[in-house]
């Protein structure tokens, strides 16, 4: 649904987005990760047609965003960063305005408002002025606006920013459910959201894509991935040493496989060793790797250089 080819955006001499290429298909939820100022919002603004690209192409549903902006905008539901809304309107008035702008009227409009009010838990504040609402409600009012026309493509810039943990959970579930039938792109810098909601994630740093894969693949890039952690009475580093490099972490032993491809074998080998040696194991697990570590390793050197 979304095709992005060699997208570039320059602000003066600074290239905020520098040759980004990716696709998002229907049924995919793409997590867009990166440190602040990496170019996430700029990329999203180009997808939604708010700012024109300096170079490159964006096509949504087969329409080029510079050539047919209206067709593209009709397909997209967009939650801008910081979830802006008109403070002098009521939630209902705001959603009715969004519905009018999307060409909904009469029964279809009422149905659409009812649907998003339920999806975003807004019924208790429906007739309150937006300026009187808490941040979480304001945020969800803007999210509801993005969903009002049941769009095929959703672009959400930090959809869980400023929400409490319960609300975050609800919004993540919502994104995951919506992703079954739509193409969804959302940006975040909360890494656990990638696991909670994404089918694929892209890490972007200083305008360039530095990693692109499923959450499992990204975790696999971690140095920790495939290591086996073992703890218990009698466990000794010397006996584990032949299996691979051994580290002691919080009283447990962590064995790193010599060959990452054979990592699956390692846990079994450690278990057999334990049986032979008569260790009384308390824990034995294969590490999946941590996204946070991958994220830091990929993006930190650049942050430090600045």
């Amino acid at each position: 649904m979304i095709r992005i080819e060699n997208l570039v955006k320059s602000f003066g001499p600074k290239r905020a987005v520098d040759g980004v290429t990716f696709n998002v298909e229907r049924g995919e939820v793409l997590g867009f990760l990166g440190p602040n100022g990496a170019g996430k919002s700029t990329t999203m603004r180009m997808i939604t047609g708010f700012i024109p690209p300096t170079e490159g192409k964006v096509a949504v549903g087969g329409y080029d965003v510079t050539e047919s902006p209206l067709e593209v905008k009709r397909l997209i539901g967009y939650l801008p960063e910081a979830a802006p809304s008109y403070p002098d309107m009521t939630v209902h008035g705001f959603l009715a305005f969004a519905a009018d702008m999307r060409g909904l009227s009469g029964e279809a409009k009422n149905k659409a408002i009812g649907r998003v009010v339920e999806l975003c838990f807004l019924s208790s504040v429906l007739h309150q002025g937006i300026d009187t609402l808490s941040k979480g409600y304001k945020h969800r009012a803007c999210l509801a606006q993005a969903l009002i026309h049941d769009p095929e493509v959703l672009v959400l810039d930090e959809p869980t920013d400023g929400l409490d943990p319960n609300q975050k959970h609800e919004v993540r579930n919502l994104i995951r459910d919506l992703g079954r039938s739509k193409a969804v792109v959302f940006s975040t810098h909360i890494l656990e959201e990638v696991d909670a909601a994404c089918t694929r994630a892209i890490i972007i740093d200083r305008g360039r894509i530095v990693a692109n894969g499923t959450p499992a693949e990204l975790r696999g890039m971690s140095g920790l991935a495939g290591a086996v952690t073992v703890s218990g009475q009698g466990v000794s580093a010397d006996k584990l040493a032949p299996l691979g490099r051994v580290e002691v972490v919080d009283g447990a032993y962590r064995v790193f496989p010599a060959d990452k491809a054979a990592a699956g074998e390692l846990a079994r080998e450690v278990a057999e060793l334990a049986t032979r040696e008569g260790w009384r194991l308390e824990a034995l697990r294969t590490e999946e790797g941590q996204l946070e570590e991958v994220f830091r390793r990929i993006t930190l050197p650049d942050t430090v250089k600045k």
């Binding site: 700012i51 997209i76 967009y78 009018d100 060409g103 606006q145």
Partner: protein, 248 residues
Amino acid sequence: MISAWKTVRTIARRELTSYFTSPVAYVFLVIFLLLTGFFTFTAGGFFERGEASLASFFAWHPWLYLVLVPAVGMRLWSEERRSGTLELLLTMPVTAWQAILGKFLASWAFLAIALALTFPVVLTVNVLGDPDNGVIASGYFGSLLLAGSYLALTCMTSALTRNQVVAFILGVVICLFLILCGFNPVTDLLTRWASPAVVDTVAAFSVIPHFDGFQKGVIDTRDLFYFLSVIGFALFATGVILRNHRAG
């Protein structure tokens, strides 16, 4: 085409409603009516003139609007820029000109409402004497065009900045220029170092002579063209400014 116009109407309706959901609209209306009353009857010497006309009413409009119209128009785009709703609005299926036109028409309609509420002066003059109501109608028409011109220019300054105060001041300065450039002291000043052709060109930009015709009941197509072209130019410039802002 029909759906394009519908979008303009949707934007205009939202904008107009937002005037009346805040106290600003009512404060503005009260001040506008008080000031028109003051200028017409006290400063303008409505009764002392002893004629059945609204000359003392309309004559003050270029000056009254100088402060009041930028106050109405200053928030149009700067508020959208400040609060980030500009991004929301322009990523909905609208073209920039639909948004510009919708917002402009809404605030122009608001000014028309304010102007319509001055109807008691029309009643007063009709009760006291026998005025030419055709002249009054043309005066109102001219006044509305004048307000529209100031408003379009404020729309333009509002698109320039996210700060309403800056938009207001720039709007006042540009409108003031349009008043003063035809004034004798200013044109006299210019004749000292500019050629008569330049002086005439600058003076031709002044709103006052174009507004005068309407006050006298003369609707000249040149005056009409002047006001409409000021509005057209300012709204076009608004579009260019917004496009440049988005292009970064």
